[in-house]
């Protein structure tokens, strides 16, 4: 009797492997290939068209001497930290409110999630009107009789980025709420019962038991929010177009403008490489903690 031969591992699940080839190719060419191409060209003095005249770190030196870029980075930091903290807090808070077995939950959930269906451009324009002193919130409050009331964040260099932040949170916290709500619903009801029998107050149950149990949900929310922060562009363009002056510039806008307005590819590539480096600086230690830590625990 001949022994059955072990089938060739390469040919197992052949259909699935063939079907995956286009996506694998896309990922390799678009993500890896284009990233490398961008990084390489950031060391050249490409202007309108990509060239390979290498100039070392010249583009980066120029970048970090440009005031507009420095303001962009500062804005991104403020916007990023605030929107991360506020989205998660507001989203979680709304989710816990919705989780109290209230009536009309579906309706309220839809209303809160609704802004997420709008594009950033529409959101930006809407909030530009709402925050406009001549026909927005300021006008309404003044017409109610409070004549000295002033609320014009989009026209004040010092706080313009917070005006953009309001719109971003209004748009994005609904999604975070839905994700958090799904996480809360995934908590076994008996955990709540056990905590009640133990006499643990509700807020303590949330902080010490439920939130630690929802760690994967928080990670999901974190990834989604972070991706949104780094690429913020259209919201700024629609709301302020970087103004007043250059007070609300963001890195993504800097990249696009260098590329298409100033025809300075080298500068744009240097800026986008810096954005990539920033993301990696945040991501690598996190990934190490999350995945490296798990392997050690097992």
């Amino acid at each position: 009797m001949a022994d059955a031969k072990r089938p060739n591992q390469l040919l197992r699940n052949l259909n699935a492997k063939v079907a995956a080839i286009p996506m694998v190719a896309t990922a390799l060419v678009v993500f890896v290939g284009c990233t490398i191409w961008t990084i390489v060209h950031s060391f050249t003095k490409s202007k309108l068209l990509p060239k390979t005249d290498f100039v070392g770190l010249d583009q980066y030196e120029r970048l970090w001497k440009t005031n507009k870029w420095l303001i962009s980075i500062e804005n991104l930091a403020i916007y990023g930290i605030c929107s991360l903290v506020l989205s998660i807090c507001i989203g979680f808070f709304l989710a816990t409110l919705l989780d109290q077995k209230i009536r009309f939950e579906n309706t309220i959930r839809t209303i809160i999630l609704y802004p997420f269906a709008l594009s950033f451009v529409v959101t930006g324009l809407t909030w530009q009107w709402i925050l406009n002193p001549d026909f927005g919130v300021q006008k309404i409050v003044r017409s109610l009789g409070w004549e000295s009331f002033a609320f014009d964040p989009l026209y004040n260099q010092d706080i313009v980025i917070y005006g953009i932040l309001i719109a971003a949170i209004w748009q994005g916290s609904g999604l975070i709420m839905v994700i958090m709500l799904a996480g809360l619903r995934g908590i076994d009801q008996e955990i709540w019962k056990a905590a009640r029998v133990d006499g643990i107050p509700k807020w303590k149950t949330y902080i010490f038991i439920v939130i630690p149990m929802m760690r994967p949900v928080f990670v999901t929310a974190l990834v989604l929010i972070t991706a949104g922060i780094v690429k913020v562009y259209d919201l700024v363009v629609a709301q302020t177009n970087g103004g007043p002056g250059i007070a609300s510039e963001v890195p993504a806008k800097y990249v696009i403008e260098s590329m298409f307005k100033n025809q300075n590819l080298g500068q744009a590539f240097a800026a986008s490489t810096m954005m990539l480096v920033t993301v990696l600086i945040i991501l690598v230690p996190y990934a190490y903690l999350e995945y490296g830590g798990k392997r050690r625990a097992k």
């Binding site: 019962k193 056990a194 905590a195 009640r196 029998v197 643990i200 038991i209 149990m213």
Partner: protein
């Protein structure tokens, strides 16, 4: 009665909207008693337990624990500890953390917490597990931690909500004995919800069989087994379940039961009240039907042919048709019976259960 009763439930009603789950339920549970609430799913047994725990607000009636009216008290103020089916451990905390979290929250002194945790760990033999997280424990160990969490609360009444249902058969048997040992050691009042009749029979001092939010029978396991109060209880308890014949009780002269042309003498059957004629169900448990020589000595005997044989090792279940009904007979596992064999079976009147046909209650 009230002075010795640990938990007393008076005229309890609970409805969710138009659905009445519990209806005018009364229950007195004595100090140190092990009461099992038994019933099929949806009978209201878990709901009743949640009401006792205070996790559900009642619609009407009162609940007293240790003589105190706790109908509207918070669960943590009722002097109860509860064990859940899914264990409901706090997954991010160590076993020690799980045991002590509630106590820390109640601001108990540190050495008192330590003493209680130590004692619970000793009682449940899990001292070496204290530093582990629930994820690193087996199902049986997790449930022991959950029991420990109820234990450290130092309460009079323990509530168990199907605590063994998530375990495999062998662990379930082991932990069942452990719970029984715990009860003998602590003498606490325990109320235990289950749908498993073996758990109910082995653990309980008294069993309350529930159906549709009503207690069908509240009695000791042996009484429930030997003298079920109605046909539902008779059918629910016992595995394989009781055989039933529809017929009529005849009281002309000595009482008899007539079905499918056969007359079964009822001399020796303990009627609840004086025997009355009328249509009725006759029930006989598979293990109370005897074969061979014992059948000859029985009050009633009949020949039948074997249809199906289910050997189970310790005993064998034989299916055959008798008086127009397909019945189960439980015989010794070593007897050799083949399908097609003619079998002489018999049973005694004292072993029967008779139920009125329409009300299905015991007569």
């Amino acid at each position: 009665m009230t002075s010795t009763s640990s938990v007393s439930i008076k005229h309890l009603d609970l409805s969710f909207g138009a659905v009445e789950v519990l209806k005018d339920l009364n229950l007195e549970i004595a100090n140190g008693e092990f009461l099992v609430l038994l019933g099929a799913s949806g009978c209201g047994k878990s709901t009743l337990l949640n009401c006792i725990a205070g996790l559900l607000d009642v619609t009407g009636g009162q609940i007293h624990i240790k003589g105190e009216n706790v109908t509207w008290a918070e669960p943590s103020e009722r002097g109860i500890g509860m064990v859940f089916q899914s264990y409901a451990l706090y997954p991010q905390m160590s076993v020690e953390g799980n045991l002590s979290f509630g106590l820390k929250n109640a601001k108990l002194p540190k050495d008192e917490i330590k003493k209680r945790v130590q004692r619970a760990a000793e009682v449940l033999q899990m001292e070496d597990l204290l530093k582990r997280k629930p994820a690193a424990l087996s199902g049986g160990q997790r449930q022991r931690v959950a029991i420990g969490r109820a234990l450290v609360r130092d309460v009079d009444v323990f509530l168990f909500d199907e605590p063994l249902s998530n375990l495999d058969a062998k662990l379930r048997a082991d932990l069942r004995v452990e719970i029984k040992r715990l009860h003998q050691q602590l003498h606490n009042t325990m109320i235990y919800v289950t749908h498993d009749q073996v758990e109910a029979m082995t653990l309980a001092d008294r069993i309350a069989i529930m159906k549709d939010g009503l207690i069908q029978q509240l009695a000791s396991p042996s009484e429930i087994y030997n003298k079920p109060a109605n046909k539902y209880v008779a059918d629910f308890i016992g595995s394989p379940s009781m055989n039933f014949f529809l017929g009529a009780v005849n009281t002309d002269g000595a009482p008899t039961f007539e079905t499918a042309g056969q007359t079964i003498p009822l001399t020796g059957y303990e009627f609840v009240s004086s025997p009355a004629a009328g249509n009725a169900w006759m029930g006989i448990r598979p293990e109370h039907i005897v074969v061979g020589e014992a059948a000859e000595a029985s009050d009633f005997k009949i020949d039948t042919s074997v249809e199906i044989v289910e050997p189970m090792g310790s005993d064998t279940v034989v299916w055959c048709e008798v008086m127009g009904e397909r019945i189960r007979i439980r015989i010794d596992g070593q007897s050799s019976v083949e399908p097609g064999d003619t079998l002489r079976i018999g049973f005694d009147a004292a072993r029967l259960s008779l139920f009125e046909k329409t009300t299905e209650s015991r007569i």
